[in-house]
Subunit: 404 residues, 2 copies
């Protein structure tokens, strides 16, 4: 049995990198950028008024002139204009280009406009550049505005749009097949017999993957029939980029999933991790030409399955798409915990961010790893390391939030 | 001019509540639940094996019996079975129903199985309930598993699925029209003249709304033509549930958006907030039968626009859908800030979560509120309150993360 850290390293070191593709910017939300975004011109591209007012020469004002002839109005989007002389000014709107000869903008509320003449008070603090966003002051043409390997959220898409990138190079969206197994599972719509339960793991995994940015998810349910299972898994391996299985991997008589996967050519990387919940977890890879498809086999127990998805699968998919590891989060334990076994404990917790900026968490009292009802009231889990049995109130441990 | 807190209260107190609708569970990801989810039967519905092993009578073992006749195999999904007598046992798989007469499950690795007989060691800690997830121990039939007014993420959808809720009552998804204005703005694909810039605000707002769970967003661009603007805004008010405008609300000559909205029947709640950036922000409401449609008019400047969306619009949409206010986040300033004006300052920051569980943030040096390039490198912003000018390193302030 390997440790949590060994399992994590075996997955992340073997995951490789997804291929990239060029897609329309509007469709790239949540994808990983795979090219730098470069300024096609200086930003701002012109000296830009930052408020509504009049554009004038600060030196004319500071030399004593208080009366400026209004030569016209410059709206945002107007072509550049020229000041006729130093005693002229333009009315100018936020975002409009400063006219040549002017060097500052005075807010409209400071100006007394009468019969085409702007009258200014004494003692105004007018100097070169006031009210102007200088051309090139945000960046020069050719500057790298975004490095590759970032998630495209609203702000990155804004930058790409501003430099005219209507198509962007991003990581492909992997096609993921989520496989549930077990004859005891019936569809949600069906009334189960007393010994049956409704199937929810596949839907839970698929929703968690969607919320983490992976939308191309197919659900596949296998009943306990080894031959059919082999055919269906073989076909699934051919048509997807990643396989996530829930259940059928324990030591039971009907847990033939691991041997079926191996028979189909999946190379096992590890099986069983010293953790609770989630001990039976399994990871392998399947060669598809140059690429190696990740195959995650998670325990069928809902809490184990959900915890392993968050702890291993989602970070792996992120790295696969080219993202760096996110900064780890830590949280302080709200009360003492004693846990004797020499394995890592994942403990579902409610999060309580404090005005001090600290994050405190309260572990949920829960029954067994089958008690998903209690987990639904939590915000994430903390990871209590092995080789210790006492975890005191106030000590900080790694915290993982559930997908939102 | 009103304060940030007054503006927030005016929006949240007036926002009302979205109508609800019943939709398939699979489509309800990210929606707000509007009904309680109740257990249709006890959970677990039967005494359930939590591991693979043999099911037996602990009292028979503790009375001295060490040899148990294997009566058969019970898989998950098998109908209930009965132990013939106290010296019999069943092989049992995780998730299977415990047979009548048995009261515990012993892991398969502890058992010596030979010719249909399970031989057990001495000194096993076998007692009533070991290896069994008791029927009804998670909840009784009729128990409320989820209260209304929570977001449906993976774990809530798992609970709903487990009790057979294939349709759920949720808040409607509001149709939001994002309106951009200004003749200076050209489409992303177009090469702008020197005095023009590419349109990105509408796309930024739409992506940020999508990432916050609001997917029904239409983009509408208005050029600077008051008559056409009135027609288009009038039509927009008729066909959407919320309007978010970017630009055209300053004091400039071409900023006729507020008066057009008022002419169309939008009741103004406030205009101008003592904040930087985002001072010109405007909020109103339009009566549509019983409902009041929110109309947010945000400054056209990209940083102001994005900040106001996060600070006001997204919390308002959340409350509108029925969600309680999230727990506020706080972060500690990485260095001293001095800011003299008696207005609230929203300062973009990079976040640095520490192993102590504290969240520290570093303000970005940025140019003007037009400098979106610097903002793209940040994780959110902090809110520095008015009536103060010195904000020392290490003090914690409200933190808002950008939509992800």
């Amino acid at each position: 049995m390997i440790t949590v850290q060994e399992a994590e390293a075996l997955i992340l070191d073997n995951i490789g990198q997804l291929d990239s593709e060029s897609i329309p910017l509007q469709q790239a939300v949540g994808r990983t950028l795979r090219e730098p975004i470069v300024a096609d011109r200086a930003l701002p591209p012109f000296d830009r008024a930052t408020l509504d007012g009049i554009a004038l020469s600060s030196s004319a004002y500071n030399m004593g002139n208080r009366s400026f002839q209004v030569q016209g109005v410059i709206a945002a989007g107007s072509p550049p204009e020229d000041l006729q002389d130093q005693k002229a000014c333009f009315e100018i709107m936020t975002g409009a280009p400063l006219p040549k000869g002017a060097d500052c903008v005075l807010g409209i509320e400071e100006v007394d406009l009468e019969e085409g003449v702007a009258k200014l008070k004494d003692n105004l603090a007018l100097s070169f550049g006031v009210g102007v966003h200088d051309a090139g002051s945000d960046c020069e043409a050719g500057a790298t505005l975004l490095e590759p390997n970032v998630t495209l959220t609203a702000k990155e898409i804004a930058i790409a749009a501003s430099v005219g990138k209507s198509e962007v190079l991003v990581s492909k969206s992997p096609r993921i097949i989520v496989v549930s197994t077990g004859d005891e599972l019936v569809p949600i719509e069906q009334k189960p017999e007393v010994h049956e339960i409704r199937r929810s793991n596949d839907l839970t995994l698929s929703v968690a993957l969607q919320l983490s940015g992976y939308r191309d998810v197919e659900l596949l349910h296998l009943t306990d029939d080894p031959e059919r299972c082999e055919t269906e898994l073989g076909s699934a391996l051919e048509r997807c980029d990643a396989l996530v299985l829930a259940g059928g991997i324990s030591k039971g008589k009907f847990d033939y999933i691991p041997e079926t996967l191996i028979k189909l050519g999946v190379a096992i990387r590890f099986q069983r991790v010293s953790q609770r919940p989630g001990k039976p977890m399994w990871f392998g890879q399947f060669s598809q030409g140059r690429a190696r498809m990740p195959v995650f086999a998670l325990p069928g127990n809902p809490v184990s399955c959900f915890t392993c998805l968050r702890r291993y699968v989602i970070p792996a998919l992120r790295k696969w798409s080219g993202l760096p590891a996110p900064k780890p989060l830590y949280a302080k334990l709200g009360h003492d915990i004693t846990f004797k076994p020499d394995i890592t404990l994942f403990l579902p917790v409610s999060a309580d961010p404090r005005p001090s900026s600290e994050l405190w968490v309260t572990p949920t009292l829960f029954n067994t790893s089958g008690d998903f009802v209690s987990v639904a009231k939590t915000d994430g889990f903390i990871e209590l390391p092995r080789k210790r049995s006492i975890f005191p109130q106030g000590e900080a441990f790694r915290y993982f939030d559930w997908p939102q």
